[in-house]
């Protein structure tokens, strides 16, 4: 069924189709509509779930942890400060290996307070052991949430589905909403290997003494790394059934590209437009959209850079005092390869600043000049910085 849905509504439909059983969330802009919609589904009897109106995001995720540990399918959604407040429990949810699914509507972090889009919130918790998927459009949001349960429940890890605030959350697009029976076939009910059950008592969340802690972390790291295969497998299965697949990355016209832009989220759509225009005039440029940011697809990215001389990372985050996070990951991916293309980082779109076609053009021109000179003077450039107000 084709419906016109905002990103937030698409997320709610995704959770509904996945038959989330316990939903717990706290309102925050721009996430709010997604949970309002779910509350409506529950109130109308369209979704048989417990909707827990908690008193904070910290409790929202804690409710999900309890629910998942007891064997239920749990869903939450948040943004920005809410994700920051959840941060402590994010690590614990992963450490407890609970396949909670969360929609994170990407929004900048305070201070100054800003309700507008960038990806600093989810990037800042990249190390917590959650699988992170970034969406380009509203269809991908709905599909990714359904996929997220299948991935998470297979590898016993929580999954965060990230999408850009306002740009996707509040923008309506035509979305194909699959019927419930085909989603049920794709995603059977959750069968946890262990759960809190008086019939078979287990202890969850013990003290990790030094003789064991490091092994717990190693096992978790390996699980996140190995989840890459599951992300691919689930996506292929989904594509076979529903005709839509997204991969770990999208290689967009990279095959003979001399310059490749790497980005995440809704900005991919803008970059594609510039790539198409340039390709029309014979310019060998391409784009990689990183959909799966954790686990990071080092090998897949490297595989799409075979002809690249210059790489421009465009990202809506900054590791203050260092570089953008995606830039750091991309440079790690190419560090030990034979080919060493030049890589530049373009910080853009922070706190809702528009990233326009001209910014993408400027990015490509800048990296091209560097390639011609075989030299990068400033590896990190801020796009559209208003020097007059500094």
């Amino acid at each position: 069924m084709k419906l016109v849905l905002t990103g937030n509504e698409a997320a709610a439909f995704g959770a509904k189709l996945a038959r989330a059983q316990v939903i717990s969330a706290y309102p925050i802009t721009p996430q709010t509509v997604s949970v309002e919609k779910l509350a409506e589904f529950v109130a109308n009897g369209e979704l048989d779930a417990e909707f827990v109106e908690v008193e904070s995001e910290h409790s929202a995720l804690s409710v999900c942890v309890g629910a998942a540990a007891a064997g239920a399918r749990a869903f939450t959604a948040t943004s920005s400060q809410g994700l920051a407040l959840m941060s402590e429990i994010l690590y614990i949810a992963a450490g407890l290996r609970l396949p909670i699914v969360m929609a994170n509507v990407n929004r900048s972090l305070s201070a100054p307070i800003s309700i507008w889009c960038d990806q600093q919130d989810s990037i800042s918790v990249r190390d917590c052991g959650w699988i992170q998927l970034y969406c380009e459009n509203n269809q991908e949001i709905l599909d990714s949430i359904i996929q997220a349960y299948k991935i998470g429940e297979s590898v016993h890890l929580p999954v965060m589905v990230c999408y850009d605030g306002y740009i996707l959350s509040h923008t309506a697009e035509v979305v194909d909403v699959p019927d419930q029976s085909s989603v049920d076939e794709f995603l059977p009910p959750y069968q946890p290997p262990y759960k809190l059950d008086p019939e078979n008592p287990v202890t969850m969340g013990p003290v990790g003494v030094p003789e064991y802690y490091q092994e717990f972390r190693y096992a978790l790291h390996e699980a996140v790394r190995e989840a890459k295969e599951k992300v691919i497998e689930v996506d292929r299965d989904f594509e076979r059934r529903f005709g839509r697949g997204y991969g770990l990355i999208e290689n967009y016209r990279c095959d003979d590209a001399e310059v490749v832009v790497i980005t995440m989220g809704s900005l991919s759509g803008t970059v594609k437009e510039v790539i198409d225009k340039r390709r029309e005039r014979g310019d060998k440029v391409g784009m990689i959209k990183v959909r799966c940011y954790r686990p990071f697809p080092h090998r897949e990215i490297l595989g799409s850079l075979e002809s690249a001389e210059g790489i421009a990372v465009m990202e809506k985050d900054i590791s203050l005092g260092a570089t953008g996070a995606l830039y750091a990951d991309v440079t790690t991916a190419i560090q030990n390869s034979d080919r060493r293309p030049l890589v530049m980082d373009f910080i853009c779109g922070l706190g809702g600043r528009d990233v326009k076609l001209d910014h993408v053009e400027e990015t490509i021109e800048t990296i091209k000049k560097c390639v011609a000179r075989r030299k990068i003077e400033t590896p990190v450039k801020w796009l559209g910085l208003r020097k007059e107000v500094l």
Binding site: H58, V65, A70, A74, L196, N200, P201, P206
Partner: protein, 292 residues
Amino acid sequence: MKELLEIEEELLAPGHRACPGCGEALAIRIALKALGRNVIVVQATGCGEVVSTPYPQTAWRVPYIHVAFENAAAVASGIECALKKLGKKDVKVVAFAGDGGTADIGLQALSGAVERGHDFIYICTDNEAYMNTGIQRSGTTPFLAWTTTTPAGKVGRGKRQWKKDVPAIIAAHRAPYVATASVGYPLDLYQKIKKAKYIKGPCYIHIQCPCPPGWRFDSSKTIQVARKAVESGCWVLYEIEHGQMRVTFKPSKRIPVSEYLKLQGRFRHLTQEEIQKFQELVDQEWKRLGLE
């Protein structure tokens, strides 16, 4: 008492690492006897969790989860909702948290869960300071008590404030059942938990648990200290059932608070005037509760 002794099943296994004379371990042991096997336990970070679950060992013979310090009530809420959805109606969810995890860092999550009306029991094992980190002051540390963050010196005289009244806060949420208890009165404690087990909705039980190293007394004196707290009126045993308060044990004659304070090193620095002040405040509290 006989009934309690007859229950042989120990659901908190011996061999956990609690200190000798630990009031909290005793409280949990008695609580589990009253609760039985058909429970799911959530425990906040603290002494109780640390001493009972050093991987790969566990002292818990019932399903157990520890998540964090401040969210035991929220985790319990999630479990309760999951059980509802999974059609398991006869399993009781029980949260244990210390005074820090209840009165201070966990108060928000507790308030939220009680306000929402989840069907669960929340048990505060109150040893009146952050004992797990080494005796720091909490909201429930008593007036004038020495802790490592309220040291007694030329200027400081211990904690300057009265103990935070968490049962009253929870009662103000109109919880169906709120009670105080003491490890010095195990049968009273047992009966209150048993009662809570059969009440639908959020039940709150606040147990005073003397701590030998934290309160500075010999580990053989836990029960004696707990009883003196009640006999002197420093700790009152009551229950509030659907808004109706009832004192469950009233000492026939209240002993002076000095009898309770002098057993504990944490009050050693008190002058006669300070003990007198303490006595006056306890007397006022008794009047306020309508006990005298």
